[in-house]
Structures are given as C-alpha cells and as structure tokens.
C-alpha cells in the first residue's frame, strides 16, 4: 500500500488548530477511512494519532465516524440471510456429476 504520510501531513497543515483554517474535510474523511480500514502505514498512523491528540475537531470527527462505522457494521452483520439447508448437498451433488 502506498505511503500516505506526506498526504496526511499536508492535510493537517491546513487544519483549524495550526493555521486558523478549517481542515480539508473531504481529505480528512478519506484519511479517517484509511485509518479505520487499517490501510494506513505505520508512519501515517502515528501522524494521525498525534494529530487527534491535539485537535478537538479532528478527534470529534474521527470518533463520530468510528462509532457510526461500528454501529452500521454491527447492524448489517446481524441481518444476514439464512443459507438454504440443501445448498451444501446441492454443491456436492453438482461436483460429483
């Protein structure tokens, strides 16, 4: 996976707490996605963790997305369709032919 650390740093440079500008929210959302999907490399994750420690806005956005994601995943996982009882037998029958 490509390293995102420069991209993370660049985004955070424009953050509310550092520069008096709002963080680029669209890019921040994508960064949060990479972190929550466990796709950020170690350095990027470290930069991100450092950022949310010191930035209320970033931390709030991250926590909200994290909880939303967990809740959606939980509800979707609970709502699974029962596999037909005869499916395994049908598969075995079809490959035996």
């Amino acid at each position: 996976m490509t390293k995102f650390s420069e991209w993370f740093k660049d985004t955070f440079q424009k953050c509310y707490c550092d520069q008096g500008n709002l963080v680029n929210e669209k890019r921040f959302e994508e960064i949060v996605q990479l972190v929550l999907d466990d796709e950020a490399d170690e350095e990027s994750r470290r930069i991100f963790e450092e950022k949310i420690k010191n930035c209320v806005k970033s931390q709030t956005t991250f926590e909200k997305e994290k909880h939303l994601r967990e809740k959606l995943r939980q509800k979707l996982s609970e709502h699974k369709t029962e596999m037909p009882e005869n499916l395994i037998a049908s598969i075995r029958k079809s490959i035996a032919q």
Binding site: Q33, L72, K75, L76, P84
Partner: protein
C-alpha cells in the same frame, strides 16, 4: 472482459491428485459457503438466484482447482469467481435487471463537486433507532458496484489489496469507490431517518 474469470484463464499451476482436490475443496473452499451465499444474496436479492450463483461458483472452483495455489487466500479466490459469474453471466439473465446506469453514477460521483453535494449529519443515535432491515435497505438501494465494496470491506473484512484483485480495479479506485459508497449509504440513511422522524424522536427523548 471475457466470459471466463482470470482464475480460469491462468495456466495450470498444479496437477493435484483427486485426493488433494477433495481435501482443498472440503478444507479450504467449503468453510466459506455461508459468506458466499450472503454475498450472492446481497447482489441478487433473490434466494434462488443466490443459490444458483453460489452453486455455479463452486462448480467452477472445482473445475479450475488446479489454478488455485493451495494454502493461499481461498476466500478471495472464490469471491472473485462469484463476482465475475455475477457480472458476466448472471446479470444478463437476472430477474431484476439493473435499473441504474453505472457509468452515469460513476461519472457523477467522480465529478469534482460530488463531495460537496453529499453533506450528511448522520448521527450514531439515529442509527441506534434503526433495525437491521432498515440499514440493509439503504445498502440495497445503492448501485451494485458501490454496494459490493461495502460488503467486501465492512462485512467480509477484505483488505484493499484483496478487493483490488477480486474486483479487477486499482487500489486507488477501491479507496475512492469505498469512500463514495459509504457517503451514498449515509445519504440514504439520513433521508430515510428524516422521513421516519428518527431525528425528531431523538430530540424529543
């Protein structure tokens, strides 16, 4: 894309004995049948079609078992075959033809202002009011290519790299499609929550 999956097109790497084939099939392929069925059902919305799709996938997997490196990622290999079967064969004869022009959707969501137009304030509390049926309804209402990445990532736990191989798209596209798919789903849920008065219920609590 050809009718066959890439797995089918690869030159044979192995020449397994019948005994080894049976062992691979039982120990590496069959444990994923439940996930495969749920994936198929979330693509087709029909129990019979999902069953046919899974059965067809396992038949192909068995037929081309020599292309599979035993001990590698069987789940991703099977999902790839199922996805290709769905696109190449099943979609054509589907009882529920695609109602949305995928290219149109992709173009729209790739446009620069797409991010601007999706501004949801979906709250965790709102989701807590909803039941699984309602969340699934929102997922089912987004175009299949976007729905697929959410299923693969959030329900089946595939990495971006695995999804890239299953879907035959670059990792960067996986990332952006997943981001858009999640925003689309949030948008659907926000609209639904507003219609059902879930936010109002919460405010009155």
């Amino acid at each position: 894309m050809s009718e066959n999956t890439q797995a089918e097109q690869k030159p044979k790497k192995a020449n397994y004995s019948d005994q080894v084939k049976a062992r691979i099939f039982d120990q590496e392929f069959m444990p994923h049948v439940n996930s495969m069925y749920n994936f198929a059902y979330r693509l087709t919305f029909d129990e019979d079609d999902a069953k046919d799709l899974v059965q067809d996938t396992y038949l192909k997997a068995f037929r081309f078992i020599n292309s599979f490196d035993k001990g590698t990622n069987a789940k991703a290999w099977l999902f790839r075959i199922l996805k290709n079967s769905f696109i190449n064969e099943f979609r054509k004869k589907s009882k529920q033809p695609a109602k949305i022009d995928y290219n149109e959707v992709e173009q729209y969501y790739n446009s620069d202002d797409a991010g601007e137009s999706i501004t949801t304030d979906l709250r965790v509390e709102t989701i807590q009011h909803m039941i699984g049926d309602e969340i699934t309804g929102a997922l089912n209402n987004i175009p299949v290519d976007f729905r697929t990445v959410i299923i693969l990532s959030d329900l089946e736990g595939f990495t971006y790299e695995e999804m890239s191989k299953i879907l035959d798209i670059p990792i960067g596209t996986v990332r952006s499609r997943l981001h858009r798919a999640r925003n689309m789903m949030k948008e659907k849920l926000s609209v639904y929550a507003a219609e059902m008065g879930y936010n109002k219920k919460k405010d009155n609590d």
